[in-house]
């Protein structure tokens, strides 16, 4: 089939960028969206033009590298599907697809459809872990964890860090991403000792990055390829609220909205 791709082209973060339109006429319905871009890129290179840069790695929906907007929807029209697993049979011959990068101040654009999501790493770095050094562990079965608790933790832990939540959120908020990690670790007994500290530190970092705030709208969970539930955000809010009520001296608890700071990085 034949598709028209309207793709955002931008050389680097300083360039202004604009849409360019390409027609790909040998699209097979079995192809993935990324394979369709591969085909386009091959023909661009052969014509001596620059191929479209897009991020990808595992191409099986788990590494979280890929992602862009297709016709205004993060990861395209299929629910719970990353662009690498989105097959072209979901489109019709003659369709026009608008491909646009994630747009958020916290995700500065690098090139074409590639953005810098290191803000996510900073949030994890601030406290998205359980402080246990190698060799410190007791036997895995010493701690009994009910199946339901383990399942609930797993639901939150399934996050792949692709950034679709931020991209889909009208406020460009990272609440679903941050909430997912707080919920994953906070649900498990192993994560309880650091729960307050984790909530304070991660929320502080989330706010220090250039993300917007959460308005509980739910676009994030609709766009999430792993369908992380919106309730993880409530979990973050609860942990943060309870932790804020307790007196703690040693935690970096604050938040100067870091727009200028983050934007420069």
């Amino acid at each position: 089939m034949k598709l028209t791709l309207k793709i955002w082209r931008q050389k680097n973060c300083k360039d202004k960028g604009a849409f360019a339109t390409y027609v790909v006429d040998n699209v097979d319905p079995e192809m993935s969206m990324l394979e369709c871009l591969d085909v386009l890129n091959e023909s661009l290179i052969e014509r001596g033009e620059l191929p479209v840069a897009f991020e990808h790695d595992c191409r099986e929906g788990i590494c979280g590298s890929c992602g862009f907007m297709i016709n205004g929807v993060a990861h395209g029209p299929e629910r719970a599907t990353t662009v690498c697993q989105l097959t072209m049979r979901h489109f019709k011959d003659g369709d026009e697809l608008v491909l646009e990068p994630w747009r958020a101040l916290a995700f500065p654009l690098i090139k074409d459809l590639v953005v810098d999501r290191s803000a996510f790493d900073h949030i994890i770095e601030a406290g998205g872990y359980i402080s246990v050094s190698t060799g410190n562990a007791q036997d895995g079965n010493t701690l009994l964890i009910g199946k339901e608790t383990a399942d609930q933790a797993m639901d939150a832990a399934a996050c792949i860090g692709c950034g679709a939540c931020v991209a889909a959120c009208p406020n460009a908020s990272a609440a679903l991403f941050t909430g997912a990690k707080i919920a994953h670790l906070g649900t498990l007994p192993q994560g309880k000792p650091e729960r307050d500290r984790r909530a304070l530190s991660m929320v502080a970092q989330m706010n220090a990055e250039a993300f917007g705030n959460c308005t509980n709208i739910g676009e994030c969970t609709g766009a999430c390829p792993k369908e992380i539930p919106l309730e993880v955000i409530a979990r973050m809010n609860r942990d943060y609220l309870l932790a804020s009520c307790k007196k703690r001296e040693d935690v970096p608890t604050t938040i100067t909205p870091g727009f200028e700071l983050s934007a420069k990085r």
Binding site: E42, E49, T134, A158, I160, L185
Partner: protein, 637 residues
């Protein structure tokens, strides 16, 4: 070169204890004065960086992706083995050791495997403590399942995303050390050369993939955890970015490359659908626990599967291997799938596929149970193929999945270059000629969490490190060479894209050095690879420049290395005149068509040394001795 594997003398049960006791320790106050480089941030790299950071070393960790969390360990689905024996079904450290040696078709080192089996239990404990949400029973204990042909339930899992959860655990431990200031994470940066000074590995040359800038990083030791080279075949289950550049450049600096021809073909992948295919998607092997594999008895039977009556179906694995049935090891399952397709009984559009049928299991256990066990895998299959596996049998076909070969390392995981350590899939150490399911995660984490922290310490404590800076002649020549390579690739400006070369290279390898190999075919392959490589350096076209994000240029450098590696892979396969594990030479098979080993002549590790661009590589042999598990013909009948 004589290869000393430094295996401790004495009983195997005490080897690792003894080795640890014999190792020299680094004074805690001196640890932060030692700098270490870790390349790669998958299970092995992230766990090594985190553990070394915790000990107080000054660590720099590199990855080519935008974040360490993207490493391809994340895609492992099925699980991780450990000798916990929670199900009380006869598991023990010794049995895991025995199964791994046997599964590897007696081409791996006993002592390494024993250590791996011992450490396996600590890995589970460590991961649980980190918050990895392993599957649990209602009573709260950890759940186990049998996996990939094992007769005991020793596999721990987190839905179909075990690799993801283990990697995130290691990634979080790594980020904790980044926060503590002991580890500096350097993403979007690719290692392009190893710096060797006075015989010691002392650093790397790296290139920032966004700015194109080269940088030099000096350290007291370099640890490579860069994964396998399966992408040399172009189509594989590896991530698109997975590459062999780091280990290949280390090979060219003097590290030996061991058993390159030991590649693993995974039996349950979604078949190729067209020319544009960019990678193959694995369906977890756990599916074989309940799915039955079959093809029509008749050649060229194009009826839809549901219309083929029971008595016209050939459940060929159950027929040929009554005791293991559909659970035979990966190499056996893959080879049999190829055999039936070669007979013209393959299914699907291309005739390259076999059915994996759940109808019997659904009838016996109910759709709900099947959905609980494999729901996410079925969804994935349906997403890709648009067929509903609850109603129609899945179509599967083997694909390149894992490479057992890699840089040669001794018991301490040190390569033949002092100070260069290699972990995880990048080394050759633990899986012999075939890896058992759910063992890759185990090895990566074992190397990273529990082995390298000791052995690197021993190396640092027993060696002296002269001060080196960027102006050193060796450093400068390495940088210049790396820069020149990039410039050359950009300046060829030929007619063919990098991908078209890579695809052709992959096809040559798959045809002549895939599931079945012959001496004659390998000769042809070597000739074709050389010719294609020559064309590559004349006719490749790499658009854009070297001073910004240029994904074609990244690929071009990696494919250039794949060409050289492909040749070595074929040379090794040609040289090994036997069949073992994933290496199946058609000339060497039993009358029933099973792999026939030649223990008398080939019970060794083939460790190849680089001798220059046009000279044939040098073969070094590390003889393998089996004191505990005596080599026998593997039988899964």
């Amino acid at each position: 070169m004589t290869l000393d594997a430094r295996i401790p003398a004495g009983p195997i049960e005490q080897a690792w204890d003894k080795a640890r006791f014999d190792m020299k320790l680094v004074n805690p106050a001196n640890k932060r004065k030692h700098s270490l480089i870790v390349v790669g941030s998958g299970l092995a790299g992230a766990s090594a960086s985190a553990s070394l950071g915790e000990l107080g070393y000054n660590v720099k960790c590199f990855c080519f992706q935008d974040s360490p969390r993207r490493a391809h360990s994340i895609a492992a689905q099925g699980g991780i083995n450990a000798a916990k024996n929670y199900p009380n079904d006869g598991e023990s450290v010794y049995r895991l050791f025995y199964d791994t040696v046997k599964g590897g078709d007696f081409r791996a080192r006993e002592a390494n495997i024993y250590r791996l089996a011992e450490i396996s239990n600590h890995i589970i404990d460590q991961c649980v403590a980190q918050g990895v949400p392993f599957a649990r029973e209602y009573g709260g204990t950890l759940t186990n399942r049998s996996f990939g042909g094992a007769q005991v339930s020793r596999t721990f899992y987190a839905r179909g995303q075990t690799g993801q959860q283990l990697l995130l655990g290691a990634y979080q431990a790594l980020e904790r050390q980044v926060h503590a200031g002991t580890v500096t994470m350097i993403p979007r940066t690719e290692m392009l050369d190893l710096i060797v000074i006075d015989g010691q590995a002392r650093g790397i040359v790296a290139r920032n993939l966004v700015t194109g800038k080269f940088s030099v990083h000096i350290a007291d030791a370099v640890i490579l955890a860069t994964g396998g080279y399966g992408n040399v075949y172009y189509l594989s289950t590896n991530a698109k970015g997975s590459n062999a550049t780091a280990i290949w450049r280390a090979y060219k600096r003097g590290a030996l490359f061991a058993n390159p021809c030991f590649t693993q073909i995974h039996p349950t992948c979604i078949p190729v659908s067209g020319e544009y295919q960019s990678k193959l998607t694995l369906m977890s092997e756990s599916l074989r626990n309940d799915g039955r594999i079959w093809v029509p008895k008749l050649k060229g039977d194009t009826r839809p599967p549901n219309e083929i009556p029971e008595n016209e179906r050939d459940y060929y694995l159950e027929r040929r291997y009554p005791s293991f049935g559909n659970l035979v090891p990966r190499d056996v399952a893959s080879r049999n799938a190829k055999a039936v397709c070669d007979e013209g009984r393959g299914v699907g559009k291309t005739g390259l596929g076999v059915y994996l049928d759940f109808s019997e299991a659904i009838a016996r256990l109910g759709e709900k149970t099947i959905r609980e066990r494999y729901g996410n895998l079925f969804d994935m299959y349906q997403r890709i193929t648009d067929e509903d596996p609850y109603k129609v049998p899945m179509r599967i076909y083997p694909a390149i999945h894992y490479t057992m070969g890699g840089l040669w390392v001794d018991y301490q995981l040190q390569s033949t270059i002092p100070g260069l350590f290699v972990l995880g899939e990048a080394n050759f150490s633990d899986h012999g000629a075939n890896r058992l399911g759910a063992s890759a995660l185990m090895q990566g984490l074992s190397d990273g969490y529990f082995i390298i922290p000791y052995t690197v310490g021993n190396y640092l404590a027993t060696n002296k490190f002269a001060k080196v800076d960027e102006s050193h002649a060796e450093v400068q020549s390495a940088v210049t060479a790396a820069q020149q390579k990039i410039e050359t690739l950009l300046s060829i400006k030929g007619k063919r894209t990098v991908d078209s070369f890579h695809r052709e290279l992959g096809k040559i390898l798959w045809d002549y050095c895939g599931m079945a190999r012959t001496a004659q075919g390998l000769e042809i392959a070597i000739g074709k690879i050389r010719a294609l490589r020559e064309e590559y350096w004349q006719n490749v076209t790499v658009p854009g420049s070297g001073d910004d994000l240029n994904q074609s240029l990244e690929k071009a450098g990696r494919v250039a290395d794949f060409f050289e590696l492909a040749e070595l892979l074929c040379i090794d396969a040609r040289d090994r005149n036997e069949s073992c594990g994933g290496h199946f030479r058609e000339e060497y098979q039993t009358p029933e068509g099973e792999a026939q080993r030649d223990d008398e002549h080939y019970s060794y590790v083939a460790a190849w040394g680089y001798r220059g661009p046009d000279a044939p590589p040098e073969l070094n042999k590390e003889p393998l001795e089996f004191h505990y598990v005596h080599p026998s013909q593997r039988s899964y009948k």
